[in-house]
Symmetry: C2
Subunit: 168 residues, 2 copies
DNA sequence: CTTGACCCTGTAGTGACTACAGGGTGTGCA
DNA sequence: TGCACACCCTGTAGTCACTACAGGGTCAAG
């Protein structure tokens, strides 16, 4: 099986397959006389394993570890359980952080309902005033007074910052 | 105010401030005779505006747009409202995707409770069997039969894939 | 013999930073 | 004056998991 066929069977792009090989996740296949990669059913399984783990949000480093555990049959599986637990914890934290973010955005959105001039937009006004030290609906939850410095935002952006290139 | 002082007052790292300037988000400040950046209160506000928006999960591109709207007082604020709406939609989608992910991981986690040899770990077994085409608890929700091709995972990983370097 | 589909390597780009390397500046103290 | 030390500068390269070429080679059909 050539790389294009493997790509078709797994739904993984050709360049990604080559990338996984370069990263040492996928074992290097035999080569034809002309240098073409020739894959076996075993490597199809390997790639599906990687894709399955990726679909569960694991990093390539995690998958590398998992593959090592898979190879070492005697290994105490506690490490595997822990890896999954950490993954769950990570995802859970992200969910919580994003839910807070959604609430903050909804509170901000509520500041403007009509179509006005930008100068009169409640959203923009809130953002500008907050940048001058005023409390804001988004970072001043219900009842909180927030006199003094409301700076620093807990670096929430850093914690939630993600690339969104993969969204349309 | 030198860059270090601005960093202290905003909680933003010096290198990040220089990065924002390079990216055209922060206006270039005056320079001292020796080339040191000298910031005014206005730029402090500018930076706080950026940080506030970042903490709401906005991309630098979004913030650039928002800053442009802020400068153009006559501009119809519908564009601002829309920007926030899109941000809310994006975050909401991410929350939903991550919640599904969490459920999938919890279902998988449930496959192993003890400390056994890796060969007998229910988690690892599930992952390996799934890579050979078998249905799995994580991608075969309650009641779904999943005979035939269960491949492709909706490319969920792609949609949720994020860097986790910023988590310890 | 040409077309077109496929394959190869290697490099550079994405986003939002972060981390140096290798230098210059400014202040305080002995 | 000499020196330490904190701060500043530019420029480049690294992070993660891909993605997108550029510039070439291979192979079967028509
Ligand atoms: Zn508005
Ligand atoms: Zn706010
Ligand atoms: Zn186990
Ligand atoms: Zn699964």
């Amino acid at each position: 099986m050539l790389i294009g066929e493997l790509a078709r069977q797994t739904g993984c792009e050709v360049e990604t397959i080559r990338y996984y090989e370069r990263e040492g996740l996928l074992s290097a296949p035999q080569r034809s006389a002309s240098g073409y990669r020739r894959y076996t059913a075993e490597q199809l399984g390997e790639l599906n394993f990687i894709l399955h783990c990726r679909s569960l949000g694991m990093s390539l480093a995690d998958i590398r570890n998992l593959a090592a555990f898979k190879a070492d049959h005697q290994h105490d599986c506690e490490d595997i359980n822990q890896l999954i637990d950490q993954q769950i914890a990570k995802v859970h934290q992200q969910v919580e952080a994003l839910r807070l973010l959604e609430q903050q955005l909804l509170a901000l959105r509520d500041k403007c309902h009509d179509s006005r001039a930008a100068a009169d937009c409640g959203i923009l006004q809130t953002l500008v005033e907050a940048s001058e030290g005023a409390p804001c609906v988004c970072h001043t939850p219900f009842g909180q007074d927030n006199h003094g410095h409301s700076q620093d935002y807990d670096h929430a952006a850093k914690k939630n910052g993600r690339s969104n290139k993969d969204r349309p």
